[in-house]
Symmetry: C2
Amino acid sequence: MTKAQNAQIIKDTRERILDAAELMFMQHGYDGTSMRTVTGEAGVNLAAANYHFGSKEALMQAVLRRRLDVINRERLRLLDEAEAKAGGKALKPSVIIDCFFGTLLRVAADQKAGGETFLRLLGRTSTDPSNFIRTFMSSEYADVLERYKQAMFLSLPDVPKAEIVWRFHFMLGATSYAIAGTDALQLVTDWQVDEASAAQDENLLPRLMSFLLGGLRAPLPKIETSIEQAASAPFVK
Amino acid sequence: MTKAQNAQIIKDTRERILDAAELMFMQHGYDGTSMRTVTGEAGVNLAAANYHFGSKEALMQAVLRRRLDVINRERLRLLDEAEAKAGGKALKPSVIIDCFFGTLLRVAADQKAGGETFLRLLGRTSTDPSNFIRTFMSSEYADVLERYKQAMFLSLPDVPKAEIVWRFHFMLGATSYAIAGTDALQLVTDWQVDEASAAQDENLLPRLMSFLLGGLRAPLPKIETSIEQAASAPFVK
DNA sequence: AAATAATTCAAACGTTCGTTTGAATTTTGA
DNA sequence: TCAAAATTCAAACGAACGTTTGAATTATTT
């Protein structure tokens, strides 16, 4: 077996560590996962992790970046494409929402292995209190979020920007929780104990999209301190 | 100063540990918080935590139970009250949602100290992968969730139960994420870096309630494998 | 006031953590 | 082919972890 063939079948150390870290971080969280657990799962020497990534924090960032770069690049590409097709006219909110949240679920489901694992890791990472994770995530998302925020503002010119941002925030939450697949409260008692269900459920996407769009289109709340009042634009769209 | 007076002003060791643990667990997560951090913040001896609570896991459970018991009892009481007032007729979904999610935000905001801290801890705990936390949370919520699920089923007799459960799941997610107040993606750039904003925002409740009800009332998705099809009841309520 | 129980305290237990080291081994490039 | 670079490896580092101990102190009961 040549070296090239071997490289195709046996993943190199760097990638094995990334795969193992993705799985362990998802199952036990960042602080709950040790470098020994990761390298043990990967079947490599303990020192290899620090050799290839420098530190545990840098390893976590590499795990997130590997998938997020692909997803966010696709998000930008699809939004560009949709705007080009619309030819100057404002996009429908449902199109924007699908470009953002639909892409996440589709790309992750498309990836051969680890796609579902990453989805669940991402869901759990979104509420992680660690400072270095928050800093990394915000810089990783900065461009995409700014782009989508502007698209939403153009799409819903009559809705106060603060309300749009809030609803986008709520949509992020519903999605993060859904893909985390924890169901800590065991609300869905039908799910298996091996908890492999939510993120890989093919019906998750249509169900989630319906819910998100419903929330986005809901009547605006009556906010006490706001100048722009719901009276002038009581409904989104 | 008598002993009774002293007990009112200077909280006893047990309560000081609970307060400190609530704050530290919220800021740094369960695994990211050490017993030394907790007892240091509380100003008590390290051994006091194990003396009063037995273990770190038991301490975490005591932190959660102290507030959740109050909130869930209130949730059951309000639902009983609403059903009694309705006199046999089915409740409106908005009433049920307000009893569940509104109570959470109101009770937590009402409590003198730690109310907002607990809200954010709860949001972050909801996606925690730790097994003992998940087990504890599911048993702590079992009664309330079963009660509310049945109320929702009665309130929306034409909607497939699976869809109701899914939407409740999405609502839990949006709420958890919102009260966690992390904003890891820095979507809301207006928020301060000290991140003290979301959970104590008095406008959060009306905004969240609008979004949740909109999502709940959204048109049902077209599910491929389902026998009960959206065609017969395409809209919730 | 004496005896008993509850609590606090400093110190230490053994374990696990992230990271580093320097030699051994493999891969690369001339 | 052979020196140089890259990688793997066993071993160890000091620090931090949850928990325990037994004596000292405080609070309660008799």
